[in-house]
């Protein structure tokens, strides 16, 4: 593969291009105490990003501006502020069509303003990496962490990984490119964090040297031609897809959409290799389980500790990838559970719905507790919910 031929060479910034697996698993790392935004900057510094487009919206503005500093320092090839998230995501598309590795960020209302672009990215097989820092969506105006927007992008055709910690954020940003750019995947990827909780708090992170960089994107490994006129400009189709009364156009659309879903599933093997599985389990043989993603998992872990002090044993399943959704893994991990609690930072409980849709006997799922609009989810609230249900005070709805 051509990408490999650059391993060992030095880029314009004097960084050594190394084998991704070396960067991920072997390169010596040093500990830093930094905010999530700074973690984004440090990941992108090492990510051989060609183009990044930015737009301000809390809580991602800080990280997006820091990527601008990287551009000035020469770590990112080109960078500018677009005029809206819709435009930004189309600018990212153009850059990706032209063979660039692209990075962008957004949050809440920005995610929804950009929305039409996401299925287009997937349909066009553009391996853009977008860091989504979730926040509440209007109305009323809200800037606090809330995962409602995530439930809305689940079926856009993007890969979606939900990082719980700053460390996962760092690793997912780099590993995400490698998985998304695999020829048998070649899809956009959203690396998600909970706004503020991860973006604006400081955390310990292990980071390899800034003298190392990821292998650059090789657009000629794409399953569709790169739009740079370096490969023959063949007539792409006999008739445009949109021609009416044309069986081929229906069949093409349907099969291509299926292929995108199949590509999401094909990403599993690369994902498992790089992030060690789509879920993480702790004591999943317990009768009571907490299943969720992002920082809700961190709160769940605290709740488990509090409950253990009272002699109540609870296990946890952390969902790392929302797409591909780990349906079989969740089925297995929850097979002995009698009660499955799904704490969430949104008003509708979409994660509980996702889980209910893939496991047998889904009356075992308790949708909650969930909070919204930026409320915190103290472990005590999870403890209380679990105890209430155990005491039979709260009716378990049987489905």
């Amino acid at each position: 593969m051509e990408a490999n031929s650059v391993i060992g060479t030095v880029n314009k910034k004097g960084q050594k291009i190394v084998d991704p697996e070396y960067l991920f698993f072997e390169a010596p790392r040093q500990q830093y105490f930094m905010t999530g935004s700074e973690v984004v900057r440090e990941a992108i510094r090492r990510a051989s990003v060609d183009i990044s487009v930015a737009y301000p919206i809390t809580p991602q503005s800080e990280a997006a501006a820091m990527v601008g500093d990287l551009y000035v320092e020469g770590y990112v090839g080109d960078y500018f502020r677009g005029e809206s998230e819709f435009a930004v995501m189309s600018q990212c598309a153009g850059a990706s069509f032209g063979g660039a590795r692209v990075f962008t960020t957004t949050s809440g209302p920005g995610t929804l303003r950009a929305y039409e672009n996401f299925p287009m990215w997937a349909g066009s097989r553009l391996p853009i990496l977008i860091n989504v820092m979730v926040r509440g969506i209007n109305s009323p105006l809200n800037i606090q962490p809330d995962t409602l927007e995530l439930g809305m992008i689940l079926d856009t055709g993007m890969l979606i990984w939900h990082a719980e910690t700053a460390q996962e954020l760092f690793d997912y940003l780099l590993k995400g490119y490698i998985v998304a750019e695999e020829p048998d995947v070649h899809l956009p990827i959203a690396v998600v964090i909970d706004g503020f909780f991860v973006s604006h708090t400081k955390d310990m992170v292990m980071i390899p040297s800034a003298d190392l960089a990821l292998t650059p994107y090789n657009p000629y490994r794409s399953p569709v031609p790169c739009m740079d006129m370096e490969v023959p400009p063949v007539r792409m189709m006999r008739d445009p897809f949109v021609m009416k009364s044309n069986y081929i156009s229906y069949a093409t659309h349907a099969s291509w959409q299926q292929e995108i879903r199949a590509a999401i599933e094909r990403s599993r093997k690369h994902t498992i290799r790089l992030i060690g599985g789509l879920i993480e389990e702790e004591n999943s043989d317990a009768d009571i389980l907490i299943v969720s993603s992002g920082t809700a998992v961190a709160q769940g872990r605290e709740a488990i500790r509090l409950l253990a002090e009272e002699g109540i044993r609870v296990g946890i399943v952390k969902v790392k990838t929302l797409r591909p959704f780990p349906h079989e893994e969740i089925r297995q991990a929850t097979k002995n559970a009698k009660l499955i609690f799904v704490p969430e930072f949104n008003v509708v409980g979409w994660m509980a719905r996702e889980i209910k849709a893939v496991i047998p006997d889904n009356h075992r799922v308790i949708e909650g507790p969930h909070v919204a609009g930026g409320m915190t989810l103290p472990p005590e609230v999870i403890v209380e919910e679990i105890k209430k249900v155990l005491a039979g005070k709260k009716e378990v709805v049987h489905g």
Binding site: D78, S90, G94, A100, N117, D228, R235, F241
Partner: protein, 295 residues
């Protein structure tokens, strides 16, 4: 450069589709001074089209493709609309993504190509309808000009939303009765050429496609100035004969009727001082890329 990227190895020559072989054998990639006179003589870069019979968009498309100075290193960006039915048949790389985002896509694309191929010419040309350019995509059209993005924007102005059945558009004439303007359009045709000038375009031309020499000159100037100086804009009248009730053979006359000195498509051209200096320098150097003298 020319055709080296598309040539076929001998062993596979006979199994390639005939239209591809024709591209290799007689298309004008890399030909110096290519232009509209190649239409009908050399293999065109448009294979066929699925527009209405006699639609002026089709001849406009053929002229544009025949006149690109550097098709072997040009990438086009389209939008949803009647033009999107043609692009799949076009033998230069082209992108269709969404309706109205063409100038945003082109901004990212041009920057990617500039970053990946420093020192090499890679032209980007946008071609979209009036609805895409002026209504739904107006912010992205203007913002790309404000940012001085280096590509040519061509608007096929048929003064309505043709592909969805003839609704009102911002470039429609005041008073015109159409779907969604049942009592006649209440405001003036948007003056995008003037707005383009104010927004930082270095070359702006308004014309019909009735005179191919003129189209050729405009397209070449538009591409070359965009490449070296900054954004350029060309608005071409390509009447939707279907929606204005004309016959297949009446498109040309409709264009002629609309380009008289006091008509809305009277030929108009604006060239910035910077662009003029650049054109003059081209003349002086007598580069192969120089502009054909008269149109």
């Amino acid at each position: 450069m020319g055709k080296e990227k598309i040539k076929i190895c001998e062993e596979f020559y006979d199994i390639m589709p005939p239209e591809y072989r024709e591209l290799v054998d007689s298309s004008t990639y890399g030909k110096e001074g290519r232009g509209w006179k190649d239409v009908g003589v050399a293999k065109e870069l448009i294979e066929e089209h699925s527009l209405c019979a006699g639609c002026p968009e089709s001849i406009a498309f053929r002229y544009v493709l025949a006149c690109l100075p550097n098709p072997e290193d040009t990438v086009m960006v389209g939008s949803t609309g009647c033009t999107s039915l043609v692009f799949p048949h076009v033998a230069v790389h082209n992108i269709h993504s969404l309706f109205g985002n063409q100038n945003a896509v082109a901004s990212g694309l041009k920057r990617a190509l500039a970053h990946r191929f420093p020192g090499k010419v890679k032209d980007v040309v946008v071609l979209a309808g009036d609805g895409a350019t002026v209504d739904i995509g107006l912010d992205m059209t203007l913002q790309s000009w404000f940012r001085q993005e280096k590509f040519l924007t061509i608007c096929f102005d048929n003064e309505l939303y043709a592909n969805t059945g003839g609704q009102e558009s911002g470039l429609m004439q005041k008073g015109f009765v159409s779907k969604m303007a049942p009592a006649g359009k209440k405001f003036d045709k948007v003056r995008l050429p003037e707005i383009a000038e104010e927004s930082g375009c270095h070359y702006v031309a308004t014309l019909t496609v009735s005179k191919p020499n003129r189209v050729e000159k405009a397209i070449r100037q538009g591409v070359l100035i965009a490449r070296e100086v900054g954004p350029t804009y060309i608005q071409l009248y390509t009447p939707c004969i279907l929606e204005i009730g004309k016959q297949a053979m009446e498109g040309l006359q409709e264009m002629r009727d609309s380009e008289g000195p006091n008509e809305r498509f009277a030929f108009k051209e604006y060239i910035s001082e910077e662009a003029k200096a650049y054109l003059a320098s081209l003349e002086k150097e007598k580069k192969p890329a120089a502009i054909p003298t008269q149109g």
